[in-house]
């Protein structure tokens, strides 16, 4: 959808009524309790879900159970872009550059990007040039000219506890706008450093569900700003919240079976190309671009 963030905020926003949110929580709570019986989690040793884990469990459980990997160049570029978006939101009058974004991250106590760039030496220039191009596109999205009355806040934390805390779903929304007590509807903004694909919508849907459960009020829109120039605007309808809840329910079920000892399923697809588990995964090794499973 070709629409800038400013157009979205200026237009009419009609969030769904809060009706049904309590029922949605009850359904998820039941699902989490059922999953907990199988998975064996407790309040002290809970299942901790994030947007990455929910997507990962649905996409390929084998990858989810792999070791955490070191920092890659792609990930670092993504972090620089992400930091630039947040810097532009809180300091709209500043020029948002790569160096400013990296300094912002360092000031927040995260030196991962600085360390990675230092390790790369002269090669770091290539990454910074790549990030600069993406940041320029991001600035054009309107994220850096928000009316303060929208209460823009970055990395807004949201956490939902289910089954008396035996399952938690937590995340940090890149930029959150509006909501109580501003008198304006809630708008979720997620920033993505790569190229648009339809699967990116899932993060906004999950966060819309979590904010609805936290605040008792559903967001009006989830906006995904991608550095390939795409701004995807998604009005939040009750059906989308229901869909997000169903995905979460399914992810909890998969997690429960894995925790109970079931071998992880391996679902090949385009994600295999960058999967660090691929050397240990016969299905992933056999996968080639252009096959039927390429759509994921």
């Amino acid at each position: 959808m070709v629409e800038a963030l400013g157009d979205v905020l200026a237009g009419p926003l009609h969030p769904p009524s809060p009706e049904g949110i309590a029922a949605l929580r009850a359904e998820l709570d039941d699902a989490a309790r059922a999953a907990t019986v199988v998975g064996g989690w407790s309040q002290d040793e809970p299942l901790r879900l994030s947007k990455h884990l929910v997507t990962g469990l649905l996409r390929c459980p084998r990858r989810v159970l792999g070791e955490e990997q070191g920092t890659s160049d792609d990930v670092v570029v993504g972090w620089m872009v992400d930091a630039a978006a947040k810097l532009g939101t809180v300091s709209p009058r500043r020029a948002v550059t790569v160096d400013a974004a990296v300094a912002f991250l360092t000031a927040l106590g995260d030196s991962t990007v600085t360390d990675h760039l230092a390790d790369l030496g002269p090669e770091a220039a290539r990454l910074k040039t790549d990030a600069a191009v993406r940041i320029d596109r991001l600035v054009a999205s309107g994220l850096t000219v928000l009316d303060p009355a929208w209460w823009p806040r970055v990395e807004d934390p949201v956490r939902v506890a289910l089954a008396a805390g035996a399952v938690t779903v937590a995340g940090r929304i890149d930029v959150l706008l509006g909501g109580a007590p501003t008198g304006r509807p809630v708008v979720i903004v997620e920033v993505k450093g790569g190229r648009w694909y339809d699967g990116m919508r899932g993060d906004g849907h999950l966060y819309a569900l979590m904010v609805a459960l936290r605040d008792g009020e559903a967001p009006a829109s989830a906006v995904t700003i991608v550095t390939d120039g795409t701004t995807h605007v998604e009005p939040i309808r009750p059906a989308l919240l229901q869909h997000a809840a169903e995905r979460l329910d399914e992810a909890m079920g998969i997690a429960a079976r894995l925790a109970a000892g079931e071998p992880p399923a391996m679902h090949p697809g385009a994600h295999c190309q960058h999967c660090p588990v691929r050397p240990d995964c016969p299905v992933g090794r056999a996968w080639r671009p252009g096959t039927a499973d390429d759509a994921s």
Partner: protein, 339 residues
């Protein structure tokens, strides 16, 4: 059973905690340096004593301001400044926009720093305010932006969960300004190296001998903040020590979950909080003698981000264990690692 003698109970708590702290300090093999004892230290000492002991002098004392640490302090100061300006103008405070309120407070600090005593309206001096003024003078815009991000998040969450207008009779604590009061802290005696700092963000109601007031503790996130009852217990005890009167309850709010939970303060809660406080001094005394000792480590997912993992065999063993769990799911180590 609730506390029916708020002043006498606080007095007895002070005497008891002071005695226990003195005992721990006297039992230390070498003299103990400064100990800044807030909730962060209590949580560290309880979750992994080895990691707490490994922090060294910089970690045991007040670590100095940084954007993540200053989030609450700057958020409260900005809110206090916003309320004070309305007060000076003789009008009710309007709903602040978080980023504007923080910028307005920062600008006032800079104006005051440049104009000295001639600045009007004056901004109350504070440690965090001095740090911001110095940061501004140094031209460190990255740090100022980071403060705007963290403090803006704090301020938005605080108001969202407490509601606007803020509760009547709310006094901001740990914030400068005419509508706020300084950090409630307590030392067992003037010569003690121990400072117990209450991290409450606000107080609802006046402090009187009858108690009855409520401490407000706002948590931006709950995931790494320990159990709610532990936090309430620590702040109830620290607040009682600092104020000299036991609060009726502690209202614990959370930005990430939207929770508002009231924990009534009774003798059991105070005892739990006092134990948490003394436990920090116990670990600090052991640290003076033995320093970092991985034998007392409590491996957990926190090992993943621990600065001392390289020197901690229990943590390394936990990280390397086949079949270990990450967030409730098993972890499959790479096949190649075992070859």
């Amino acid at each position: 059973m609730t506390v029916d003698d708020p002043v006498g109970t606080a007095d007895r708590l002070r005497a008891g905690v002071a005695e226990r702290i003195a005992g721990e300090l006297a039992g230390a093999a070498v003299p103990v340096g400064d100990v800044y004892l807030g909730w962060g230290a209590a949580l560290e000492a309880a979750t992994c004593p080895a990691r707490y002991r490994a922090q060294g002098a910089q970690g045991w004392a007040f670590p100095g301001w940084s954007p993540p640490l200053a989030a609450g302090a700057c958020g409260r100061a900005a809110l206090a400044h916003h309320m004070a300006r309305a007060d000076l103008a003789g009008r009710p405070a309007t709903l602040p926009t978080p980023l504007d309120a923080i910028r307005a407070w920062m600008r006032s600090l800079r104006t005051q720093a440049e104009a000295g005593a001639r600045a009007a309206p004056p901004v109350e001096r504070s440690s965090v305010g001095d740090w911001i003024a110095e940061t501004w003078a140094a031209g460190d815009s990255a740090t100022l932006a980071a403060v705007a991000a963290t403090a803006g998040r704090w301020l938005a969450g605080f108001i969202r969960v407490l509601g606007w207008p803020l509760p009547t009779q709310l006094t901001l604590l740990n914030a400068p300004g005419p509508v706020a009061v300084p950090a409630p802290s307590w030392r067992p005696d003037k010569a003690s190296p121990v400072t117990v700092a209450c991290g409450a963000d606000g107080r609802i109601g006046k402090v009187t001998g009858a108690g009855g007031f409520v401490l407000v503790v706002h948590r931006v996130t709950t995931g790494g903040d320990g159990a709610l009852r532990d936090r309430a217990a620590f702040e109830a005890a620290a607040g009682s020590l600092a104020i000299g009167v036991v609060p009726a309850s502690v209202l614990v709010t959370a930005g990430d979950t939207g929770e508002r939970v009231t924990a009534p303060v009774d003798h059991q809660l105070l005892a739990l909080g006092a134990n948490r406080i003394v436990a920090v001094v116990t670990q600090r005394a052991i640290a003076a003698e033995r320093g970092f000792d991985p034998a007392d480590a409590t491996p957990s997912p926190a090992c993943r981000r621990c600065d001392h993992l390289a020197d901690c065999p229990p943590g390394q063993a936990w990280m390397a264990a086949a079949g270990r769990w990450r967030g409730g799911l098993p972890v499959i180590p790479p096949v190649r690692a075992g070859l």
